[in-house]
């Protein structure tokens, strides 16, 4: 499940690089996927955990780092949902980040942190510092995830239903872990607590995978038709601008292609080519003019 999530997030990160350069609003969600990828990497999904942790002193600092990165991933995801839902920033917006210093301090107070182990938390759950560290991390995650679900409530029936469904599973996973921490540390029912806690991994990665898969499918279903519609025209117009030297700078046509959305890039190229014709009091050959008119008609149809 971790590998599947890693693959989904990698695809999202790579495919969205062009839009991150162009659209400010898309940067937070891209950062979320990057932090998610980093957290999964640190968890030993690709490189063995022991190797990564050995560079950090072999005392399970990787556990703390993956927790911080996972929290940041959810935080930036939350920020994008906030923008999507037009929710203003309040003090509670930053509240989950306050858990990071608490996590760092409580992690530092855990005794006998070596050796590197995937079950670092479970094997030290008898310590109050571990319970505080792990509990704070999960509470911050749960708080943020629940707020995302709340902000998505109006969009949950629409294309973002998979986000809400996946995050509900993540919230269930966090609740399982918090129950485990509380029961294990403050009650005599250790075995029962461990049984509940064992559901965390399955639910957590399942929920995140559903969310990431929904996101990737939505992204592709929106971007592929646009690419099919405009890519050939955008490249043809850019090539024409370069061939006839329509711009003062030879870099401009390529920059517009990269810096604008495809549709805006097509529009910009059309204007530059009209300017060129006006400025030089010239007309393109009929075939070229015909193609330009066709593209304009297409642009009209989209408006």
């Amino acid at each position: 499940m971790k590998l599947l999530l890693f693959a989904l997030l990698s695809a999202l990160c790579l495919l969205r690089i062009p839009s991150v350069a162009k659209v400010t609003e898309s940067r937070a969600s891209w950062l979320a996927s990057m932090f998610g990828l980093t957290a999964l990497y640190i968890l030993g999904t690709v490189t063995p955990l022991e190797v990564i942790d050995s560079y950090l002193g072999g005392i399970n600092v990787t556990n703390l780092l993956q927790a911080i990165f996972a929290l940041l991933a959810i935080f930036f995801f939350n920020d994008s949902v906030r923008r999507l839902a037009n929710v203003p920033v309040r003090w509670t917006y930053y509240a989950p980040l306050l858990s990071i210093p608490i996590m760092i301090v409580s992690f530092a107070l855990i005794e006998d942190k070596a050796p590197t182990a995937a079950d670092f938390i479970d094997s030290r759950m008898d310590q109050l510092a571990t319970a505080t560290y792990s509990g704070t991390y999960m509470l911050a995650l749960l708080f943020t995830v629940l707020r995302i679900i709340y902000m998505l409530r109006h969009k949950a029936r629409g294309p973002y239903a998979t986000f809400s469904a996946g995050l509900l599973v993540v919230a269930a996973a966090c609740s399982c872990h918090i129950t485990y921490v509380v029961l294990f540390h403050f009650s005599p029912w250790d075995a029962f607590a461990q049984a509940i806690g064992s559901w965390f991994d399955r639910l957590f990665y399942l929920g995140l995978s559903v969310t990431a898969a929904g996101w990737l499918i939505l992204f592709l279903s929106k971007q592929l038709p646009k690419l099919r519609l405009w890519m050939i025209d955008a490249l043809w117009l850019t090539a024409l601008r370069i061939r006839i030297n329509a711009d003062q700078s030879r870099v401009s046509p390529a920059w517009d292609l990269f810096n604008e959305t495809l549709e805006n890039g097509v529009y910009k190229s059309l204007i530059v080519l009209h300017n060129y014709q006006r400025g030089n009091m010239t007309m393109f050959p009929e075939s070229v003019q015909g193609r330009i008119s066709q593209i304009e008609a297409k642009l009209d149809a989209q408006t």
């Binding site: 609003e25 898309s26 529009y267 006006r278 008119s293 304009e296 989209q302």
Partner: protein
Amino acid sequence: MALPPVPEKVRELCGDGTTSMKEVIDRLTVICEKPINLIEYKESWGALTAFKAEFEDRINVYFPPQKSRHYKLHCIYHELGHIYLESFRIPLALPDLSEEMLRETADAISVTCRSVPNHPVERWVEDFAFEMSKKTRARSSSDPDPFLS
């Protein structure tokens, strides 16, 4: 000469979301306290794309007949950009004829002039026209989706 950022000024003029040329002209009319008239002028234009002329009681934007609707609107937005930029009353080295020059040349049969190529004001109003085109071409909301863009 520091020119204000175009997207910020476009947002101030039209807010977020979509707009139309009529809305833009209405708002500029309020800002300039003069009616703005769009006049399709069928005479010979040579290499000119459009121009605006300000009078005591009105501002006229002249543009040639164009086959391309997009290009026609773009040229008009370019001139509206000039009107908007001048409303900020920033001291600019405008590539325009001054009042004295206009008086001096009032009886001339023709006037030619040369300004610095790629002038910042021309770049600003061209960027304004591009921004406006985005806001008028968008079908619903110009706010990009933070997940799907």
